[in-house]
């Protein structure tokens, strides 16, 4: 290693940078303060999932060979907000959902506008949605679906999504072994 340029060092070579130590102390205090504050007043949740539009989502799912994930929700639904906070606001969960599924949000507007768009009605009828939130995972090829009704907590939602994804991957592997994989590339 080439030697450092020789130049005079004022004070001890072991002098501690006071500014850095003070800054570290102040930031540590601010960290504790902010932690306590946000424990009582949590910041506004942020939806991090990359949602796709309803139209074109099935084609997209077939193209990338990923299952569709429909999130049936409504603006007035409190458990839907809990699911947003605990699942869709979580960076890790949101990444898994955005990268492993083609996520689509289907919002019910009957209470606000008296009726839904035909596309929303048709999806609700197809998957027999009777409560919000309902998550439905749909295989892009054969239309096989799995649903989870209501929000049972982050852990259960994670389990449902992981199980559905594992099942889909198994089937995908089986398909490729059988030589019937004709995924458009």
């Amino acid at each position: 290693m080439p030697p450092a340029e020789p130049r005079a060092v004022r004070g001890s070579a072991r002098a501690a940078p006071r500014a850095l130590l003070v800054l570290a102390g102040l930031l540590l205090a601010a960290r504790v303060g902010a932690g306590i504050y946000e424990h009582y007043r949590p910041p506004q949740p942020q939806d991090r999932v990359e949602w796709h539009a309803m139209a074109g989502a099935p084609e997209r799912a077939r193209k990338v060979d990923r299952p569709l994930l429909y999130d049936f929700s409504a603006d007035w639904c409190e458990p839907c907000r809990s699911m947003e906070r605990e699942v869709f606001d979580d960076r890790h969960e949101a990444e898994v959902i955005s990268h492993s599924f083609v996520p689509v949000r289907v919002v019910d507007r009957r209470r606000e506008e008296g009726r839904n768009s035909p596309a929303v009605d048709s999806l609700q009828a197809r998957f027999r949605v009777t409560a919000f939130p309902t998550l439905v995972v749909v295989w892009p090829r054969d239309g096989h679906s799995e649903s989870a009704v209501g929000f049972q907590g982050r852990r259960e939602t994670h389990r449902f999504l992981t199980r559905a994804l594992a099942k889909f991957q198994q089937e995908k592997m089986l398909r490729s072994f059988q030589g019937s994989d004709s995924t458009p590339r």
């Binding site: 290693m1 450092a4 070579a13 850095l20 570290a24």
Partner: protein, 234 residues
Amino acid sequence: MNLTLIRALLLQRMLSPVRICLVVAFFLFPLMLAAFEADARMANMDYVFVLILGAGMVGQDVTSGVLQGLLARPVRRSEYLVSRWLAVALGSAFLTLLLAALGYLIAAARGNAADLGPVAVRACEGVLTDFGVAAVLAFFSSWMNGLGDLAVFLMASLGAQLCEGIGSIKPAWEWVARVGREFDGCLSPRLDLTQALGPGVSAFAVVSYFSTVTLCLALAIVILNRRELSYASG
């Protein structure tokens, strides 16, 4: 900050065949994924370049006797440590940005490019993570010889993952998972820019990142200042 020391570390790393091979492998892997995968998605290499470039950033100099010789010159220990940290962070940040840019170009060439905005935000987050993890590694390296910092870092990461795994077995053990998550957050400080620049900004997340970085550097300097280096070692 000492530019000579920064240049020296980068030169040291470029002359190490093992590190160069690892950098090339981890650099090409996500690019190949982006080039051949149907969905052209880049694998997340996270802070792997920091670990490759930063392992033994102080400890190896102690073991090889370089540090003892270096400190005989008029260089402050704090200056040495901050320069090592900056060199590792800047080198890793350069690789992270280059990888993001190449990945984006490959995806664009395949007609599958994502929006530039989120890609840029993700790259900037990667750079911040590089600076954060480099500070944590500098802290471990200030009291471990050789590549001990990397071993401690990996073991601590594994411990954090284990805690998260154990905590997810039973709902009553959720606190174990929480401990694991917090520990993992300390080992790899990140700043979520989408959140930090968005409406739901969390002051705790922003302050935590900078607090971890400054605390690790401050502790590393204190430890290095108290360390007695034997000129007969190695």
